[in-house]
Amino acid sequence: MQMIRKIIPLALAMIVVSLILPWWGFTLLGLSSAWICNNLKDSITISARASVLSWVPLLIYSYLNGGNILFSRVSQMMGLPYPFLLILSSGIIAALLGALTGLSGYYLKEVFNDK
C-alpha cells in the first residue's frame, strides 16, 4: 500500500513532465525515486512501475478509443502479429528505462549522501 502511495504520485508527475519535455523527460523524475525510497530494490521497482504506469494505461486507452486500426498497422510494420504485443513492447521499454533511472538515482543519492 505504501508502495502504491509512492508509485501513483510519481507516475502522475511523469505524465505531466512527458507533456512538456521530450519523450525521455520522465526519466528525470525516475532519478528522483531514490529519494522517496529506502533501498535499491524499492528505488528500481517504484521507478519502473511508475514509468510503466505513465505509458501503458494511456496506450490501452488509445487503443480502445479509436486507435485499433493504427495499432494494427503499426504492429504489422514492426513485425508483431498482435497489437497487444506493441503495447507490451512499449511497456518493456518504459520499465527498462524506469528501472535504470531508479538504479542511477539510487547511486546518485549515495554520492550526495557521501558528500
Binding site: L58, L70, M77, L100, S104, L108
Partner: protein, 811 residues
C-alpha cells in the same frame, strides 16, 4: 566500487539507451520517440477528424465554406479564387501532407536525406535526368503568368498554414517512422510533382534498346520485330481520316547516324504497365440522347492513393474531379458544362544524343563540328548519417549528360569533382520535353473553367508534357478527343535510335502547331475512344513515337461501343470491367489446334479440354486465365530468349502483338528456331514445350491458387513501401492489355463515368481513400468497393446546402 563510479556507469548506460532509442536504426523507427504515448504514433489518433465549426485565417478576404460529404470529399465554396486555392491547399495538406512532400523529395532526388545511403543511386539518377532543372524552367514561365501564378501562391500559403499549425507530435505518421520533419511548401515543389508525372508517363525510353538491336541484328530485324506501324492496329483517329493542313517541312539525314550503344546498362524506367482507357459516346448511342464520358487511367497503385477527390466552387467556377496531392485545381473531372479525361499519349519526347567532349574535363563538346562550351552544375546530395555526395552534371544545349560512363562510381570528394577527375570524354545527353519551360497548370486551370469545346481546345494550347489524349464531352452534345502536348515535329524515325549530338539535323527542329495535333470532333460513328494505342495511321505527317501500346484494349473497346445503340451509364461502367482477353482470342485457337493430343500426358489433355472451353474472360475465378498467362510467358521465353537474352538488361523483347502475328501468319518464322540447338525448331515444338511447362507449373498449385484472382491478384503497397500500410492480396479480375487493366501493382487508379445532362450524373471511385493517415477508416475505405467493381455517385452542386456532410466555415 565507489558510488560515484556506479552512478556514472548507470547514467552512461541510461543516456546511451535513450540515445539509441531516439534514433532510427535501419528501417526501424526511433523506438523511444515512436512508442511513447506522448510523442509517438498514438498522438495521431483522431488526427483525421474533420475540422468543424470555424477556422480563422488572416489570408482570407472573404468567408469560405467547406463541406465534407459522406465519401469524405471536400466541397469548397469560396467567393474568389485566391481564397479557393488557399483553402484547397489547406484541406489537401490536412489529408495528404506527408505524401505530397515525400513525392517531391523522391522526384527531386532527395530521398537520401530521409532514408540514407540506400537511396543515393536513385537520387543521383533523379538529379541527372534533370527533374529540378525542368521544374525550375516551368516555374519561371509560371511566375510570369499574372492570371494563374497568384492562385499557385495562394495554394502554397494554404499548405503552409496547415504545416505551421502542426506541433511535432502531430506530424503525420510517416514523419515519425522515418524521423524527419516537414518543410514549408513552395511553388517549385508543385512544379516538381508535375515533372514526376511527366517522368512516369514519358520516361519509357527504348532508344538504347533499339540501337543495340540494330547494331547486333541489323535494321531489318528492328523493322520486322518492332515495326512503327504493325500489321494490326486500331488508331485513335480512325484510319483514312484526312489531315488537311500544310505540315512543317523538316530536314532529315541522308544516312542515319550509327551509335555504338556500347555496354551501357538500361536506365531505370517507369512501371511498364502504365496505360489508360477513355471514351465518350454521343447522344446517338445513348438511351437518354446525352453524351456519356468514361475514363480510367491505369497507373501504379499505392496508398495513400495518387489521386485526391475535390469539388471547387466560386461564382465563376464549379468543377469536381481528382487532382494529385500538391497540385492546385482539378486534373481530371467535370464542371457544369463539360467533362474530360485523359490517356497517356506515348509520344517520344525523350531522346538521347551521343556527345563527344574535347577532353575529360567536359568543358567543351562538339556541335556543328566546333567546340561549344558546356555548363556544369554540382548537385549536392545530402545523405542521412553520411557525408554529402557531390555529383557534377554537365549540360549541353540538348540537355543534361545523364550517362558519362562513370556516373555510378562511389562518392568522390567535392574537390576531386571540381577538378573533373571523374568525368570522361564521351557521354550521352538527354533531350526531354519536360525540361522545357511550360505551363501545364495554366492549361488545366483553363480546362477547369472551359464551358464549351472552343474554350476546351484553346485551354489545351499551353499544355506541354506529358502528352495526353484528352477525351471530351459536353452538355451541348459534343464529344471529342484531342492529342495534346508540345510534341516536337519529327522526321520519320527521329529519336528512335540514339542520335548524333554533333549534327544539328538530329536536333528537334520545330513543335507541332496546336491546330495540327491529332484530334477528332463528333465523328459519324458516334463515339471517340483511346487506349494508348497509335494516335493516327501512317498518313499523319509527323513521327510521334516508335512505341504505342498494342491495340488489344482499343479494339475491344471499339468493338463493344460499335454494338451499343442505346447505352446508359451502367453500360459504360460495365465496359470498364470488360475482362475479354484479346491476346487469347487471337492466338489460342491456333495454338490449341497445333497441340496433338497423343503427344500429351493425361494432365495436359485435361488442360487442353479446359482451355478449349474457355470464354476468354480473365474473370476472378478463371483458372484458364492463369493457364494462358503462364503459357504466354513460356511461349515468349522459348521464342525470344535465345536471341534476346533472358530479360537481363541486355535487350528488349518484341511486344506480344509481334508474336501474335507470327503465330497466326508466320508459323515458319526463323525466330521460332532456337539458335542454340542443331535442330530446327518451329512453332509446333515451341507450342508443345511451352504447354507442357505450363502444365507442370500449374500442377504445383492447388485449385484456389490457380484462380486468377489469387494467381495474379493486386497489391496496393504504401508509397514508401512501409510494411503494414498497404493492402495486399486483393482478389481482382482483368489484366494487362485487357480493358479492365488491373494488375499486380498497377491498375485503374481512378474510374469516372458521367452522363452530360443538365443535371449531371457523375460516378467515380479510386483504389484508396481520402485520408492519408493510416489509422483512419478513410485511408483505404474505397478499396473493397473498388475490388468489388463498384462506383460511387459523386455529390455535386452549386451551393453548400446541396451537399450533405460536415460543414466548416473558414474566415
Amino acid at each position: 566500487m565507489q558510488p560515484l563510479i556506479k552512478a556514472g556507469i548507470c547514467l552512461t548506460t541510461l543516456i546511451s539507451i535513450i540515445f539509441v532509442l531516439n534514433k532510427p536504426i535501419g528501417s526501424i523507427p526511433p523506438l523511444g520517440k515512436f512508442l511513447s504515448p506522448y510523442t509517438g504514433y498514438t498522438s495521431l489518433i483522431h488526427s483525421d477528424k474533420l475540422p468543424a465549426g470555424e477556422l480563422h485565417f488572416d489570408s482570407l478576404s472573404e468567408p469560405v465554406e467547406v463541406v465534407w460529404d459522406t465519401l469524405r470529399i471536400p466541397h469548397i465554396f469560396a467567393k474568389n479564387e485566391h481564397d479557393l486555392y488557399f483553402v484547397q491547399g489547406y484541406v489537401m495538406a490536412f489529408d495528404r501532407l506527408w505524401q505530397m512532400e515525400f513525392q517531391t523529395h523522391a522526384a527531386s532526388g532527395r530521398l537520401s536525406e530521409i532514408v540514407g545511403e540506400k537511396a543515393k543511386g536513385y537520387d543521383q539518377f533523379q538529379r541527372r535526368i534533370g527533374m529540378v532543372y525542368g521544374a525550375k524552367n516551368t516555374l519561371k514561365t509560371l511566375s510570369e503568368d499574372d492570371e494563374f501564378y497568384p492562385n499557385l501562391l495562394a495554394f502554397t500559403k494554404g499548405i503552409n498554414a496547415y504545416i505551421n499549425s502542426l506541433s511535432p507530435s502531430k506530424y503525420p505518421l510517416e514523419y515519425k517512422v522515418l524521423d524527419y520533419s516537414p518543410e514549408l511548401w513552395t511553388p517549385l515543389k508543385t512544379c516538381i510533382l508535375l515533372k514526376s508525372m511527366a517522368w512516369m508517363l514519358t520516361g519509357r525510353s527504348t532508344d538504347l534498346a533499339y540501337t543495340r538491336i540494330v547494331n547486333d541484328f541489323g535494321m531489318d530485324a528492328l523493322e520486322e520485330l518492332f515495326p512503327i506501324f504493325p500489321k494490326e492496329y486500331d488508331p485513335i483517329i480512325p484510319r483514312n481520316t484526312p489531315f488537311n493542313f500544310d505540315p512543317i517541312q523538316l530536314k532529315s539525314p541522308r544516312n542515319l547516324y550509327e551509335s555504338t550503344a556500347d555496354a551501357t546498362q538500361f536506365l531505370p524506367q517507369p512501371p511498364e504497365a502504365i496505360g489508360s482507357n477513355n471514351w465518350a459516346i454521343s447522344g446517338k448511342r445513348s438511351k437518354s440522347g446525352n453524351p456519356i464520358l468514361s475514363n480510367d487511367p491505369h497507373l501504379g497503385l499505392n496508398l495513400p492513393s495518387i489521386w485526391y477527390m475535390m469539388h471547387l466552387n466560386t461564382p465563376n467556377l464549379n468543377v469536381m474531379g481528382v487532382t494529385i496531392p500538391g497540385a492546385p485545381g482539378i486534373i481530371l473531372g467535370f464542371n457544369d458544362n463539360i467533362s474530360w479525361g485523359a490517356t497517356n499519349g506515348y509520344d517520344d519526347v525523350m531522346d538521347w544524343y551521343d556527345i563527344t567532349f574535347k577532353d575529360s574535363t567536359q568543358s567543351e563538346y562538339r556541335y556543328k563540328n566546333k567546340w561549344e562550351p558546356t555548363r556544369k552544375e554540382v548537385e549536392e546530395i545530402k545523405i542521412k548519417g553520411q557525408p554529402t555526395f557531390y555529383d557534377t552534371i554537365t549540360y549541353t544545349h540538348h540537355g543534361p549528360v545523364v550517362w558519362d560512363h562513370l556516373n555510378q562510381t562511389p562518392a568522390l570528394g567535392k574537390s576531386q569533382i571540381r577538378h573533373g577527375v571523374r568525368q570522361t570524354a564521351e557521354g550521352r545527353a538527354l533531350r526531354w520535353l519536360a525540361h522545357d519551360a511550360s505551363n501545364e497548370m495554366r492549361a488545366l486551370y483553363k480546362v477547369n473553367h472551359a464551358d464549351n469545346y472552343i474554350e476546351f481546345v484553346d485551354a489545351l494550347e499551353t499544355y506541354s508534357c506529358p502528352g495526353q489524349n484528352f477525351v471530351y464531352a459536353d452538355i451541348n452534345g459534343n464529344i471529342a478527343i484531342w492529342h495534346s502536348g508540345n510534341q516536337p515535329a519529327k522526321w520519320d524515325g527521329q529519336g528512335m535510335l540514339i542520335m548524333d549530338g554533333n549534327d544539328p539535323i538530329y536536333d528537334w527542329q520545330a513543335t507541332i502547331p496546336h491546330a495540327q495535333k491529332p484530334h477528332i470532333l463528333n465523328p459519324k460513328r458516334g463515339y471517340v475512344s483511346s487506349a494508348n494505342q497509335h494516335i493516327t495511321d501512317e498518313d499523319y505527317p509527323y513521327f510521334l513515337s516508335s512505341f504505342f501500346w498494342m491495340s488489344y484494349r482499343a479494339s475491344q473497346i471499339n468493338k463493344e461501343l460499335d454494338k451499343l445503340k442505346s447505352a446508359d451509364v451502367d453500360d459504360m461502367k460495365a465496359l470498364q470491367f470488360d475482362n475479354t482477353n484479346g491476346k487469347a482470342q487471337n492466338v489460342l485457337p491456333v495454338l490449341l489446334n497445333i497441340l496433338r493430343s497423343e503427344q500429351l500426358s493425361d494432365d495436359a489433355n485435361q488442360w487442353l479440354s479446359t482451355m478449349k472451353a474457355w470464354d476468354y474472360q480473365n474473370s476472378k475465378l478463371s483458372i484458364e486465365a492463369s493457364f494462358f498467362d503462364t503459357w504466354r510467358k513460356h511461349l515468349e521465353y522459348e521464342t525470344w530468349a535465345d536471341e534476346f537474352g533472358q530479360g537481363d538488361n541486355q535487350y528488349l523483347w518484341p511486344y506480344f502483338n509481334q508474336l501474335d502475328e507470327m503465330i497466326r501468319f508466320q508459323p515458319a518464322s526463323k525466330w521460332f528456331d532456337n539458335k542454340h540447338t542443331s535442330k530446327k525448331e518451329t512453332l509446333v515444338e515451341i507450342c508443345h514445350t511451352a504447354f507442357n511447362q505450363t502444365v507442370a507449373e500449374l500442377k504445383k498449385l492447388d485449385l484456389t491458387q490457380r484462380e486468377w484472382q489469387n494467381f495474379q491478384g493486386t497489391d496496393i503497397l504504401h508509397i514508401a513501401k512501409i510494411p503494414g500500410m498497404g493492402r495486399i492480396d486483393l482478389q481482382t479480375s482483368g489484366g494487362v492489355d485487357i480493358i479492365n487493366a488491373t494488375r499486380l501493382y498497377e491498375g485503374p487508379s481512378w474510374r469516372l463515368v458521367i452522363e452530360m445532362d443538365d443535371d449531371l450524373q457523375p460516378f467515380g471511385i479510386y483504389p484508396g481513400g481520402q485520408s492519408g493517415y493510416p489509422g483512419s477508416v478513410h485511408y483505404d475505405d474505397y478499396v473493397n468497393d473498388w475490388v468489388d467493381e463498384k462506383f460511387y455517385e459523386l455529390p455535386f452542386g452549386n451551393t453548400p446546402s446541396e451537399i450533405e456532410g460536415n460543414h466548416l466555415l473558414c474566415k
